[in-house]
């Protein structure tokens, strides 16, 4: 198949194996001499291990723990605070202490029940609120940043303001529920350990293994298996599992498989950080914003993990898509004795956008403005500074996107119609809401240049087939297809002649992790350049390769200390409009219509883009009203998919979406990032729609039926 227009869809590379189910995910793999591993986990939230008593282990069964780790006992991520096997302190319920390995799962489960551990329990910090109270105590604040207008100036402005509005906003956990539970296999060989599994970041894992096994780079090898969904959940978490299986494999000299049960996965793996966002805004008589202060608190859970980076993105997005005069923000990651939180599609931005969209919406109501009109007054334009003193360099099409969506959705007519009809229907109320959002593409600041330093390679075989040699995972988002298309088009080759074998660190250079909506834009661009290079050197029938390294776009240098500079090289944009119907007797919310306009530079494959829109929005909308996870005394309460409640096919509706063209010079064919953007607008739009239906305000997501009923009940009480 030859590619005329890059956006025209092609069959996905991995389609056949996926529909037939014959593509082996890690739990489908069996290797010779393989044993299973199960983890002994902490039953308490905080305390010291006093003693461990193992049952008598039958022949062929062994316990693996901290003493088997050759390197330092932590999972190499950013800080050194996450033990591979906790052997002194435990910091959350579910923290791994030991691994039992052996052939038969039934036996392992029985042994698991017989392990006795004696703890000295200590007072744990269970909630974000408790952590906020104790944030100056040692060890609670794991990261913090502050930037923007000086507080003296703000206080002077506040003095002269007509009113000051303060709002506190809470966001809950979100669980990835990738359909394939986490799984990792370490294949034992004399001279190397091959770790294979469900993952997004091969070299994160490789580096963690080199540290844990204290070995040379050629003694470990990481291979990605087909990955059944990631959404960030397989970004940093698999590094820990990889350490577990690799340490165990070395210890018992057998291959070790670790696959989680769904309930185990729900309870012990990372989630989206619960957050509290405080807004303090000075308004003049007309309701115009004079200044704004935002404080963000993220519940990091028990380890630092990637939380500080998540906080950075949350802060960078704390003003949304708006140019707010005299803006100040600060943020904290706080430690609690709960399951560590981590990467999740959007990476801190969804919390911030939910908060700021809600707050601006509420401010508009105070001044009796239509929320959308009020938001448009503050919309950033090309050339405007960002809140970190960077610049929005490229054209911004949001105004056009809004206008187009207003027409498509008949927003104004609908809004008037609902307002007119709602009083007549005692039970069901309809509402319509909007959200405006962006997503900074790629790593924050100079991460690409300083930390990642991506390299890509194209390898041409004698029979003129070209293989992509990169370390990026296809976890469903379709990069096998999109990146292959870019290369095929650049080389003028039929798409079928470009191959993308499962990444294997023995074969591929480090092109960086598969995160941060960077893959298409950054890795895709490098591949485009490599393909150009290969094309100029092309010699039929000869083995050839082309290598490219990351080149940094000229920007205002990012300074993490002062939190200034260009945080991202480019931004993708979106607008959502959502219509809902709320059942005032039960608080249930029904989605009626969902619209989205997006700008992602250039679409590489229309079908894949639509898949990102529909899937991302389903998650984003559900984050706003449907999915609910809570922790009680350090224990996750929702251990099954149904109790947590991600949407079924009956909870979503078809989505009317459109993508605007706005090619970006440093992206392949003009493409920017798209994967995370699509999630971000869901929750704020659904909140706005529910508020419109009920003519009330909420200060939290998810807005569950419980929240709605309580609010209606209070309102009724006030009315009496």
């Amino acid at each position: 198949m030859s590619l005329k227009d890059i956006s025209t869809s092609v069959p996905k590379k991995d389609h056949k194996g996926k529909v037939s189910g014959q593509l082996p995910y890690i739990s489908d793999v069996k290797v010779e001499n393989m044993v299973y591993g199960v983890l002994v986990r902490s039953p308490i939230a905080y305390g010291k291990i006093k003693s461990i008593q193992l049952p008598t282990l039958p022949e062929g069964y062994e316990a693996v723990g901290a003493e088997h780790i050759s390197g330092p006992n932590y999972v190499k991520i950013i800080q050194e605070d996450q033990p591979i096997f906790a052997n002194e302190w435990v910091n959350y319920i579910g923290e791994p202490i030991l691994m039992l390995v052996g052939k038969d799962l039934n036996t392992l489960y029985r042994l698991l029940d017989e392990v006795k551990i004696d703890f000295e329990e200590h007072q744990a910090v269970y909630t974000l609120d408790e952590a906020i109270q104790q944030k100056s105590a040692t060890g609670i604040t794991m990261a913090s940043y502050e930037f923007g207008e000086s507080l003296e100036n703000i206080s002077a402005i506040e003095q002269g303001a007509h009113q000051i509005i303060e709002e506190e906003y809470d966001t809950g956990y979100q669980e990835h529920v990738y359909l394939e539970p986490q799984g990792m296999l370490a294949i034992y060989r004399e001279d190397e350990i091959v770790v294979q599994g469900s993952m997004q970041c091969l070299y994160y894992i490789k580096n963690a293994l080199i540290s844990a096994l204290d070995c040379g780079a050629d003694e470990v090898r990481v291979v990605q298996s087909p990955t059944g969904g990631g959404f960030g959940g397989k970004e940093e978490f698999p590094s820990m599992m990889a350490c577990h299986v690799a340490v165990a494999a070395k210890a018992v000299k057998k291959s070790v498989m670790l696959v989680f049960d769904r309930s185990e996965d729900m309870v012990v793996t990372t989630k989206r950080h619960p957050a509290k966002l405080n807004y303090r805004t000075a308004l003049d008589k007309e309701g115009n914003i004079l200044s704004m202060c935002v404080d963000i608190y993220l519940d990091g859970g028990a380890n630092a993990g990637l939380s500080q980076v998540v906080l950075q993105r949350a802060l960078i997005n704390s003003a949304g898509v708006y140019k707010i005069p005299h803006f100040h923000a600060k943020g904290y990651v706080l430690k609690t004795n709960t399951v560590p939180n981590g990467a999740f599609r959007g990476f801190g931005a969804p919390q911030s956008f939910a908060g700021i969209e809600s707050h601006i919406g509420h401010l508009s109501k105070l001044g009796n403005f239509d929320p959308l009109e009020y938001k448009r007054k503050y919309l950033v334009k090309q050339g405007d500074p960002t809140i970190t003193k960077g610049i929005f360099r490229d054209p911004i099409l949001v105004e056009d996107m809004i206008e187009d969506l207003l027409t498509a959705s008949q927003y104004k007519t609908k809004k008037a119609e609902f307002q007119h009809n709602n009083p007549q229907n005692l039970r069901y109320k309809k509402g319509i809401g909007t959200s405006l959002f962006l997503h900074g593409c790629g790593f924050t600041g100079s991460g690409e240049r300083d930390h990642i330093k991506a390299t890509v390679k194209l390898l041409k075989s004698k029979d003129d087939l070209v293989s992509l040699k990169i370390s990026n995972s296809d976890m469903g988002q379709g990069i096998y297809t999109t990146l292959s298309k870019i290369v095929a088009k650049e080389l003028d080759l039929p798409y079928e002649r470009v191959l993308y074998p499962d990444p294997d660190t023995k074969e591929v250079p480090d092109s960086g992790p598969t995160v941060a909506s960077r893959t298409t834009m950054i890795v895709g661009k490098l591949l485009e350049r490599a393909a150009k290079k290969l094309k100029t050197q092309w010699q039929s029938g000869v083995e050839q390769e082309a290598v490219e390294h990351y080149v940094h776009r000229e920007m205002i240098p990012w300074d993490e200390k002062t939190f200034t500079g260009d945080a991202y090289p480019a931004y993708s944009w979106g607008v959502n409009i959502v219509e809902v119907e709320v059942d005032t007797l039960t608080g249930n919310v029904k989605l009626e219509k969902v619209y989205g306009n997006y700008e992602v530079g250039k679409v590489i494959d229309e079908r894949i883009m639509k898949g990102q829109i529909d899937g991302g929005l389903a998650q984003g909308l559900a984050y706003g009203y449907l999915e609910k996870m809570t922790s009680k005394e350090g224990r996750i309460q929702q251990k099954s998919i149904s109790d947590y409640g991600p949407p079924t096919a009956m909870d979503v509706v078809s989505i009317d979406s459109k993508v605007f063209d706005n090619p970006y010079a440093d992206g392949p064919y003009g493409a920017k990032g798209a994967g995370e953007l699509t999630l971000i607008g869901g929750a704020p739009a659904v909140q706005a729609a529910i508020e419109d239906a009920l003519q009330t305000s909420f200060q939290q997501i998810p807005i569950t039926p419980e929240v709605i009923i309580e609010s209606l009940w209070r309102k009724e009480g006030e009315g009496d």
Partner: protein
């Protein structure tokens, strides 16, 4: 010893009668198209046909299906119906990570065999026990619609 038909072949097993059909299919008969996503009947990744009815193999103790006719995705892979679904899922962009897909295909086939021309609401109900976290379902709904349209006659009730 429990005997049943698996993908058209009579098979026997010594596994305990409470063993989950899912484990038997995957471990003993090494058919990997039937996946485990939850083990509690909540995701549909393990969907199979039991006497032509869609069921979750993680909830079936094998003792209960003695003599039954079991079909997994591997058992329908060569049928015209499967080929049509395969093509429709490709054309509609219904596949992302793929982990839910064999189960989805089973649910789609079950739905269309009972109801060759389903409405959108009937399609959504038909796959409501099959969780997909990647696609947001709409492109899967489109795929089933496409298969219904193109498959005129193919889905006639047996």
């Amino acid at each position: 010893m429990i005997k049943f038909t698996l993908n058209g072949r009579i098979v026997e097993t010594d596994a305990p009668p409470t063993a989950r059909l899912l484990d038997l299919i995957r471990d003993e008969f090494e058919l990997i198209g039937t996946k485990e996503g939850c083990g509690e009947g909540e995701c549909g990744a393990c969907s199979v046909f039991v006497n032509n009815l869609l069921q979750n193999s993680c909830l079936i103790p094998i003792g209960a299906i003695a003599g039954a006719d079991i079909q997994t995705i591997e058992g329908i892979m060569e049928t015209e119906q499967f080929k049509l679904l395969d093509e429709s899922y490709s054309n509609a962009g219904g596949v992302q990570c793929g982990y839910c897909i064999p189960g989805m295909i089973m649910a789609s086939a079950a739905l269309l065999s009972n109801n060759p021309h389903p409405t959108e609401a009937e399609i959504r109900d038909g796959i409501s026990g099959n969780l997909c976290r990647c696609t947001g379902y709409n492109m899967i709904v489109d795929a089933i619609n496409l298969a219904a349209k193109k498959g005129d006659g193919l889905w006639q009730k047996k």
